[in-house]
Amino acid sequence: MHRAGHYQGLKKTQYGYPIPYIPKWIEPWESLNSPKTNKYPFHLISPHPRWRTHSIFNNCSWLRETYEQEVTMNASDARRLGIKMGDVVEIWNERGKVVVPVYVTERCMPGVAVLFEGAWMDLDGQGVDRAGNPDFLTLDSPSPAGAFAYNTVLVDIQKTDLDHRPVWDKVGTSRAYVFRRDM
């Protein structure tokens, strides 16, 4: 007979963090439960982009036309912050700051921001990434099991006058860009 609590013990990984013996949810370093949300209220996730493989093919101009590096956020959050579709915003926390255009949608959960990984960085003189690479915002320490904790990051977002440089000029001669999306 196993006593209750036998499997609830914690062991330390080679990275020095305690994790449970059986797989279960544990509180991440940063989440919407943490007190840090007072300062950084958005949970940033950085999924794989559809138009490049991580950072590969980011310089392919055809693929750059299909989607662009932008942060996706919920419409109610955007309304509260006075942000409209296509505005340039800065996303920051204590680790860094990136500048990207915003895509406002109802299809994103409120309180969550989505910034696709793999953009090629373009630093200005102040250390701000103008291209919008979420690596500037992610945690520097590994997860307890030694993985990269790129989907539990707290950030704040605001409208900005800082420069966004997508490292590719949209050709202003075509109506293609206008027809890209329709709300």
């Binding site: 949608t105 109802e106 959960m109 050709v171 001669t173 075509s174 293609a176 027809f179 999306r181």
Partner: protein, 223 residues
Amino acid sequence: MTTTTSETATKKTVVKRRKHVTYTPVKPEMQLAFVHNNVDCIGCRACEMACKDKNGLPPGPRFRRVMYIEGGTYPNVYAYKVNMSCNHCGEPACLPACPTGAIFKRKQDGIVDIDSTLCIGCRRCEATCPYGAPQFDPEEGIVKKCNMCVDEIEAGRKPYCVMACMMRVLDIGPKDELLAGTYETKAVGPGEKVVTQVKHFANPELTNPSILFVPHSKGRVDA
């Protein structure tokens, strides 16, 4: 209510004016049409890439465009895609707008094409098209558009976009057969009916576009 009636009246006037000043359109023996399944399309844009590859386009013009239509309020949201290139209209708006007569409609299959040797790049067709099909190529200084891969069709194959579609949601076929549901295509599932118009799509009475959709439940105009 008053705004709706005045809008309808305006639309009717526009259609009337358009019909009045237009030329006698070419009556093709058979009109080829695109058919797109708005629901099953995943928006991967492989068709766009295949098209740009076939036509050797620089960044800028995109003959085929996949558009996301989304709506609702979180958490009850929906999204679907509308995929359009040139609709090879029955009464193309671009054709009479061309000052050099470079745009023509083929008699045998109703394909609308631009003769690039005659095009002077005035971009009038670009302004008249309700769908944004003719697009300016900044490198060559002329307007280009989808020609439904005429060479492929003459070789007995389908256009590059159709062949690149991994979800098989895009296809071409004779318009009357597609409308009647007698044409065998993977884009239209069993029990599905095609429509000529979806939300946010220009009034088909204007140019009689040769494109049919399997509509999303939220994208129907008749619902």
